[in-house]
Structure formats: structure tokens, C-alpha cells
């Protein structure tokens, strides 16, 4: 248990946190806007990884996959929204949740039909394939790239939400949708845009995660639960909440596995149970 070992764990935790952040930020804003849980969020993450895999095979470029997959998935999300979810706007939140549960089942089978049952190899781009020496510690370059990407996404999203008119409208709608609507904000359009944007971010996370975890149809079902925990622990609808939740879940999970191997995997749920009991609204809810 040397310093290098702990530093490696620290970077692993940070990398997992950043992945969770990119995944959860779209979910939390949509959740905050309409009180709508998209159980199929993980499905878009898996879809992003698969589309990215195909784009990588066609173009031979990781960067094309990284940019292209989120666009394709956003288009699919828009279509699904218009065909299905928008029509159920009046049916209530619960109906929408159940419909997205149906999408989870359909999504897994469609991906199995197109890409097969087996885990697909997805190699990191050659430029990031090696390792980097950092404070006397050798760490895979690609994982550092994931951390950097997460931080860039964080800064860009912060600028978007805090420094632009669009961001102000989103924050207003999360805070009080009826009031924002009365002031002329098209809340339903914002919701639609954020839904697609969130799905694109999920797809981005899928491509980014693919070289680390490989690509298989059940990957979305697996990642959904930690993502939902991030959203609940962090609090609905806020960027700060998504950051805090991702870091907490990422670090608690990574260090839980190192320090309490016999309880590995459970500590995250203990964190959630504690949050629900002590602070049901989460750490930094947008609506205090």
C-alpha cells in the first residue's frame, strides 16, 4: 500500500466520477425540469457505445466516433421523444417512467439484434494508448483523458447554465416551471432540448467508457443504478448536485472496494439510504 497505490486509486475514483458526471447531468436537469425519470438513460449510454463502435469501424477514427455517436443518439432520442414521450405528457410522470422502462427492454433486444450478444472490443485511439508517468506513477493516458474530458464538460456546462440566457431559462424552469412559463419561457421546448442533449451526453459517456469496459448490450442496465444514485444524492436539477453526487459515488465506490472489500458494492447503496433518510431532497437540490 504505497503512495503510488493510493494515488492510482484516487485517479481511478476521479475517472469514474467524471464518467458518472457526464452521464448524470442530463438526467438530473430533465428530472428537475419535469419530475421525469428516464429509466432508458442507460440505454442511450449503451447505444452511444455501440454506434461509436460502428463509426470507429467505418471511419477508423476514434474522434469521429466520439463526435458522431452523440449526434446519432440525439437524433434517435428526439424521434423517440416526439413519437412516444411527448404524447404521454398528460398521462402523468408515472406513465412516462413506465414507458421508458419498456424502452429499456426494447433497447437491449434491438442492440442484441444489430450488434450481437458478445462484448465488442473498442480500442483507445493510438495517441492515448500508452501510459503516462505522473509523479513517479505510471497511469494509462486514456484514463487521464477521461478525467480531462469530464472537467472540460463540467466547465462548459457551468458556462452554459450560469452565463447564458438559455441557462438562465433552464434554471428558471427547474425552479418554478409554471412561473417561467408565465414569463414566456417555452418550458416544453426546453424540456425537449434538454432531453436530447442529456441523451447525447449519455452517448458521449458511452463512447468514452467503451475502451475501459468494452461494449455489450447490458452495459446500460448496469450503469443506470449508479447514475440514479448520483442524481438522488446530489439533488435534483442542479449542476452542483451532479458534481457532488458523482464525486461522492465515484469515491465511495472506488475506495469502498479497496477498504471494505467484503462490503464492496453495498456502500454506495448505504450512501443512498442515508441520504434518503437524512436529506431526502439531496445535497444541492435546485429547488431548496
Amino acid at each position: 500500500m504505497t503512495t503510488a497505490y493510493w494515488l492510482t486509486q484516487l485517479l481511478n475514483a476521479l475517472q469514474y466520477s467524471m464518467l458518472l458526471f457526464v452521464l448524470s447531468v442530463g438526467l438530473t436537469v430533465v428530472f428537475g425540469l419535469m419530475n421525469f425519470v428516464n429509466l432508458a438513460h442507460g440505454t442511450f449510454y449503451a447505444l452511444g457505445a455501440f454506434v461509436g463502435w460502428s463509426l470507429l469501424r467505418i471511419t477508423g477514427s476514434f474522434w469521429a466516433a466520439l463526435v458522431g455517436a452523440p449526434l446519432v443518439v440525439a437524433a434517435i432520442a428526439a424521434l423517440l421523444y416526439l413519437v412516444m414521450i411527448a404524447r404521454m405528457q398528460r398521462a402523468g410522470h408515472l406513465a412516462q417512467v413506465l414507458a421508458t422502462l419498456g424502452l429499456v427492454f426494447v433497447g437491449v433486444e434491438v442492440m442484441r439484434m444489430i450488434w450481437g450478444d458478445f462484448a465488442l472490443e473498442f480500442s483507445a485511439p493510438p495517441a492515448l494508448a500508452g501510459s503516462v508517468s505522473l509523479f513517479g506513477l505510471v497511469y494509462p493516458a486514456y484514463r487521464l483523458f477521461v478525467i480531462a474530458l469530464g472537467l472540460v464538460a463540467l466547465v462548459l456546462l457551468w458556462l452554459l447554465l450560469e452565463r447564458t440566457a438559455l441557462g438562465a431559462m433552464i434554471r428558471a424552469a427547474v425552479d418554478n416551471a409554471a412561473m417561467a412559463s408565465a414569463l414566456g419561457v417555452r418550458v416544453d421546448r426546453l424540456f425537449f432540448a434538454m432531453f436530447c442533449f442529456g441523451c447525447a451526453l449519455a452517448a458521449l459517456a458511452g463512447v468514452v467508457a467503451a475502451p475501459i469496459f468494452s461494449v455489450y448490450p447490458g452495459m446500460g442496465i448496469e450503469i443506470l443504478i449508479p447514475t440514479l444514485i448520483v442524481v438522488v444524492v446530489g439533488g435534483l436539477g442542479s449542476l452542483r448536485g451532479a458534481v457532488a453526487g458523482s464525486l461522492l459515488v465515484g469515491f465511495v465506490d472506488t475506495f469502498g472496494q479497496v477498504l471494505l472489500p467484503q462490503l464492496s458494492g453495498i456502500v454506495v447503496y448505504a450512501l443512498l439510504a442515508l441520504t434518503l433518510l437524512l436529506r431526502p431532497q439531496g445535497l444541492f437540490p435546485a429547488r431548496a
Partner: protein, 351 residues
């Protein structure tokens, strides 16, 4: 309110029971295995309906209770070597205990948060079982015995006898839950689902009712778990997985949430469809997902909801005919019939 001996409900329940008993006698081995599976799922779905259909606690972690029942029975019999007569009540009690804990932990969670909380608790059980060496991890545990009922002249290793017993247990569960839901307790649960604030205003604290319902639901789901373990003589961590809980919820909704008999009907229909569809494609999940989306899309009333609508429609037609014969003096009767509120999936709470 919920009436147990409503003519339509009783007709559907009796039809299911008679079909089940008849099938247990005449079906082949494979058919009887499917029937036993249907009965297990029917019990699980009815226990879920007690939560999701009445106080509207839509649990996405119902597999937790089923899994705990199944594992408690298997561990007690296989690992500890206790007789089934001891392990059986113990496993049902374990389901009830889990229900009590989850009920207490989620008593303040509402709406979407309740879904998330139950989802997470169920998944916690899954991770715990998968990671534990003693419970067999990913491989599950084999060898759960069927109890020896030869004193009653029943040989449970015979598939026909076992299927008959399971169908009878499902019928018993239906009667018990139905009695309960028709009582004052059941009416309070339904009232909590319709408007919790109003229940409070009437001077009733909803918390204890929700916890009691969750405990009871956990016990019945635990029973389903025990029967599942006896049926396949094997338990797998899949019971805990959130997609299993999702499937149980789908059965409840496809059958008709809040009608008690509907979820049993839904369980039978979904299990039957699963085998029918799996005979020619391996993509059963696709159909399951599409059925759920369709059911929600068309109002979320499920199969039983359609039967009720049919009954209402035929009553209206009959009344219209009667009016024609008797002249206009019976016009007021055109609006009779069951216009009471049914807790569908659709109406979202404004709160």
C-alpha cells in the same frame, strides 16, 4: 372502494382458477411447469398490486422480497439443514421483515422518489447476493427441497400435484388479499393512493398504513419466493435484479393495476406469451417492452380495465334498449354502473 365479490372480478378469478386446475390435470409435463411458474408470478404480482395498485406505492424493487423469501428458504433447508416445515414460515417472516424495513425507510419518499428508493434497495440485495461466496454468488444455490406432504396423501415431486397446489395457494392468496382490501384497512390504503393529504385531514396518519401494507406485501412476495425455490429447486440472484422487479411490475400493469385479479391474469398472460414467443425468437424482451409501452400508451388500465370497459359498454347498450322499449322514463339509468374511481397508472398526483 374495492369489492371482492364484484361479479366481473369473481368471474375472471374463477375462470383463472378453473383453467389452472384443469390444465394441471390434463397438461403435459412442460405445460404443468409453465403453470407452476404462472402461479408463482401471479402471487408475486398480486402482492405488488397491494402496494402499487392501492396506496400507489409503485415499487421497482419487489424482487427483493421474492429473492429474500427464496434465499431464506434455500439457505435454511440446504445450508442449515432445517426441515421445510421450519424453513417455510421463517422465509415468509424474512420477506415480511424486509418489507417492514423497506416500508420504514421509504415512508417519507413519494412518487418518483419511492420508485428510486425501492429500485436501489432491490439492487442492493442483488449486489450483496452476487458478491457473497456463501450464497453461491452469480451461480445461485441449488437443492431447495419440496416439502413432504405424503401424510396428506400428496406427492409434491409429481408435477401435476405440485402445479395444483400452487394454483390453490394462488387462489387462497387472492381471497386473503381480497378480504383485506375490502376491509376498512383496504379502503384506507386506497384512500392514501387517491389523496394522501385528504387522508391526513380526516385524522388518519398514512405512515403506519403504508408500513403495514409493505410488510404484508413483503410476506406474500416472500411466499412467492419460497414457492419459486421449491418449483425450480434452484435460486438465482436474478430474482433481485431490477429488471426482474420491472417484469413483475409489467405483469401487474398489463393485467390491470388495482384490480387484484388483473395482475394474476397479467402474470398468466405474460408467462404464456414468453413461452409462445420464445418458441420462434430469442428476443422476448422486445415484445415485453413493446407490450408495456402499448399498455401505458392506451391508458394503463390493462386487460382487466378492458373487460371493465366492455362491461360498462354492454350495460349502456342494454339500458339504451330498455329505454327504447319503456319510453323515455328510464333515462336516468343510462349513467348507472360502476363509475367509481379506479386507480390506473395514468392520473399523476399534482403534489
Amino acid at each position: 372502494m374495492f369489492r371482492l365479490f364484484d361479479p366481473l372480478r369473481t368471474t375472471v378469478a374463477l375462470a383463472l382458477l378453473i383453467a389452472g386446475l384443469w390444465w394441471a390435470r390434463t397438461g403435459d409435463y412442460f405445460g404443468r411447469e409453465i403453470l407452476a411458474e404462472m402461479a408463482v408470478f401471479a402471487i408475486a404480482a398480486m402482492s405488488l398490486d397491494l402496494l402499487a395498485g392501492f396506496p400507489r406505492l409503485v415499487s421497482m424493487g419487489h424482487g427483493l422480497f421474492v429473492g429474500i423469501g427464496a434465499y431464506a428458504y434455500t439457505v435454511a433447508t440446504v445450508l442449515a439443514g432445517w426441515p421445510p416445515a421450519v424453513a417455510f414460515p421463517l422465509a415468509v417472516a424474512a420477506g415480511a421483515g424486509a418489507g417492514l424495513l423497506v416500508g420504514l425507510a421509504t415512508v417519507r419518499a413519494r412518487d418518483i422518489f419511492y420508485i428510486m428508493a425501492t429500485l436501489a434497495f432491490g439492487q442492493m440485495g442483488y449486489v450483496w447476493v452476487v458478491r457473497s461466496g456463501e450464497l453461491g454468488g452469480d451461480d445461485g444455490l441449488a437443492g431447495a427441497p419440496r416439502p413432504d406432504l405424503s401424510a396428506l396423501g400428496l406427492d409434491l415431486s409429481d408435477s401435476a400435484t405440485f402445479a395444483t397446489l400452487l394454483v390453490s395457494v394462488a387462489a387462497l392468496v387472492y381471497l386473503l388479499l381480497g378480504r383485506l382490501l375490502a376491509s376498512g384497512f383496504g379502503r384506507t390504503l386506497l384512500a392514501i393512493g387517491q389523496n394522501e393529504r385528504r387522508v391526513r385531514a380526516l385524522g388518519i396518519a398514512p405512515g403506519p398504513y403504508k408500513v403495514a401494507a409493505t410488510t404484508l406485501s413483503g410476506a406474500v412476495a416472500g411466499l412467492a419466493g419460497v414457492l419459486a425455490a421449491m418449483h425450480s429447486m434452484y435460486v438465482s440472484p436474478e430474482l433481485f435484479h431490477w429488471t426482474w422487479s420491472g417484469e413483475a411490475l409489467i405483469m401487474t400493469i398489463l393485467g390491470g393495476i388495482g384490480s387484484l385479479v388483473g395482475p394474476a391474469l397479467g402474470a398468466a398472460a405474460v408467462v404464456w406469451l414468453k413461452y409462445a414467443v420464445s418458441a420462434w425468437t430469442e428476443h422476448w424482451g422486445l415484445f415485453l417492452g413493446l407490450f408495456l409501452i402499448l399498455a401505458v400508451w392506451t391508458g394503463g388500465q390493462g386487460l382487466y380495465g378492458y373487460l371493465e370497459r366492455l362491461r360498462r359498454w354492454s350495460a349502456t347498450v342494454r339500458d339504451a334498449r330498455g329505454r327504447e322499449h319503456a319510453g323515455g322514463d328510464r333515462a336516468h339509468q343510462a349513467v348507472r354502473g360502476p363509475h367509481r374511481h379506479r386507480p390506473g397508472v395514468a392520473p399523476g398526483d399534482a403534489g
